[in-house]
């Protein structure tokens, strides 16, 4: 590990680290232009930062304020009530059910998506005939407006006209319509959550695959060639060169997707509204029903923001860690 060249050590593990060494060395000449670099840097950053902080930062503070007030829709004046709303949420049976469902939803969906997304990206890296067509087909679920494609899932999960059941039934895997063996996807408390997760996975695994694919392809050819020259097999190259290099993209894609899933209510809201008997109720749906439909903004905000204090430390930790890794 001399850092002299990319083709350095024979150990593929070392190579990933090698890449970062020249990067450190490169800091010095930049420093001589310190002020210019800063100016340049902040100029680049400013538009995005201002946009987001103005349009989300300020409203975010407002929502924090809502969570500690007795605000109602239609009530122009709100009073500070401390943690009353959070307490009220904790007292609710359905809040705990929603919390549990949210966690199950998140974890199961994330695992399935990473598995499907990574393996699909990996397959799409191969050279084969018809690849373009297949790549085109698998991204379609992601490009359809979710509010509408969920409706078609609702139709496919229909208790009577489910095509999924039609196929399974003809294959002899389940019973006939009207018998015990005919699954009622959105009516059975266990199946209903599974059904909702499946739609989420169906819709977003192409997303994971796209992010990864673009990540793979942005790894410079020279780096890979270098590994090839060193006689690494495909899997070695993949595992020790490509994966560490695209790690930041991987993590970010994963984090965003997790957070997005957390605040996304459309799948559950449109499929079941949280039923049957709250079996699929997740926090954003509950927050919407209490905060907006029933008008208790304060309690809705408290429920919607409930996970934020838990998430922030974890996220900051991951993000800082990401920042430190350089390749």
């Amino acid at each position: 590990m001399t850092g002299s060249s990319l083709h350095g050590g024979p150990d593929p593990m070392a190579r990933a680290a090698v890449v970062s060494v020249p990067a450190r060395a490169a800091e010095r000449p930049w420093l001589t232009h310190g002020a210019r670099r800063l100016m340049f840097g902040y100029t680049l950053l400013a538009p995005a930062a201002l946009y987001v902080l103005l349009l989300v930062g300020a409203p975010f503070l407002f929502s924090l304020y809502l969570a500690v007030s007795d605000a109602n829709v239609g009530e122009p004046i709100a009073h500070f009530v401390g943690l009353e709303n959070f307490k009220a949420a904790l007292e609710m049976d359905v809040f705990w059910i929603s919390l549990r469902n949210s966690v199950v939803f998140l974890v199961v969906a994330a695992v399935l998506k990473s598995l499907l997304g990574t393996s699909l990206a990996f397959l799409l890296l191969q050279d084969f005939k018809g690849k373009k067509l297949i790549r085109g087909l698998v991204v379609i679920p992601f490009t359809l407006p979710i509010a509408i494609s969920v409706l078609s899932w609702k139709w496919m999960y229909d208790s009577q006209f489910s095509v999924i059941n039609w196929v399974l039934s003809r294959m002899g895997l389940i019973g006939q319509f009207g018998t015990e063996g005919w699954p009622i996807w959105l009516g059975d408390p266990k199946l209903a959550l599974v059904a909702c997760i499946l739609v989420n996975v169906w819709r977003t695994f192409p997303f994971s695959a796209i992010v990864l694919l673009a990540g793979f392809t942005s790894v410079p050819v020279e780096v890979i060639d270098a590994a090839k020259v060193d006689g690494c097999s495909f899997f070695q190259r993949f595992r020790h060169v490509v994966v560490p290099m695209i790690f930041p993209i991987l993590m970010i894609g994963f984090l965003f997707d997790t957070v997005f899933t957390l605040s996304d209510l459309s799948v559950v809201y449109l499929l079941t509204q949280g039923g049957p008997a709250n079996a699929t109720k997740i926090l954003p749906v509950l927050a919407y029903q209490i905060g907006i439909q029933a008008g208790s903004l304060g309690r809705g905000a408290a429920i919607a923001l409930f996970l934020v204090p838990l998430l922030i430390p974890a996220l900051i930790l991951v993000l800082r860690n990401l920042k430190r890794r350089e390749y």
Partner: protein, 289 residues
Amino acid sequence: MARAMAPPMTQRRKSIRRHLLIYAAITPYVVIAVFPIYWMAITAFKQDPDLYRMEHFPFWFNLAPTLRNFKILFYQTHYGDWIWNTFTISAWVALITLVTAVPAGYALARLKLPGAENTGIAIFLTYLVPPIILFLPLSRIVAELGLQDSWWALVVVYPTFTIPFCTWLLMGFFKTVPMEIEEAARVDGCGQAGAFLRVILPISLPGVLTSVIFAFTLSMQDFLYGLAFVSPGDQKPVPVGVPTELIRGDIYYWGSLMGAALLVGLPVAILYNFFLDRFIQGITGGIGK
């Protein structure tokens, strides 16, 4: 090496075997992804009574196919307006995202600015604010800007989620570009901005295009903001317009609904392929073979 030791095989046989393996592996993905799409497509051309006949094979027409659902879409709703609005909104959002997130992502990934890390994290954390809360203060802002009930409201609002997302995504991409390349460019006489524009940006093009596609598609996924800010029939984007006019009380216009989703989703899928294709070709050969 293992491959060299393998029994000799003709190039052709090897290639066929490889293809078969790949097809076998990828088929489940295609089925999962495409089956619902196929189902939507065929439903869009079915007559209503045909939807309710489960005793027949449901994957083909048991009654003559019909264009009625599309006629409803184009002659009895504002679908033409919606689709136009959706694409215009998405294009504007993608543009705004591009000009803000690309520089920001680069600055955060590369320039080691004091305080940048926290700014970046702050930008990310805005993503944690659930839209169900955010839309209330935002509706005030939209009204103050005089944009209530115009699709421009959505052009202003959607970047609140596309910018954080794309900034971080691009950060990841910029980080994968080895420092030496940038350094080399500087040695060759490019300034800071020059290195960014002439070297880093072209290398990261797949990333940049990916984030454009995401900005575009994410804009089409929203429902709540569109609902809250835009009510006139001719100003709505597709995801809001469709449930307004194609779900009436407890009556669903299934065929038209599905046709509506496909007509807006398919062009984006094609766009995606068209754009990314040329950049992926050749480069993937490097890892893939």
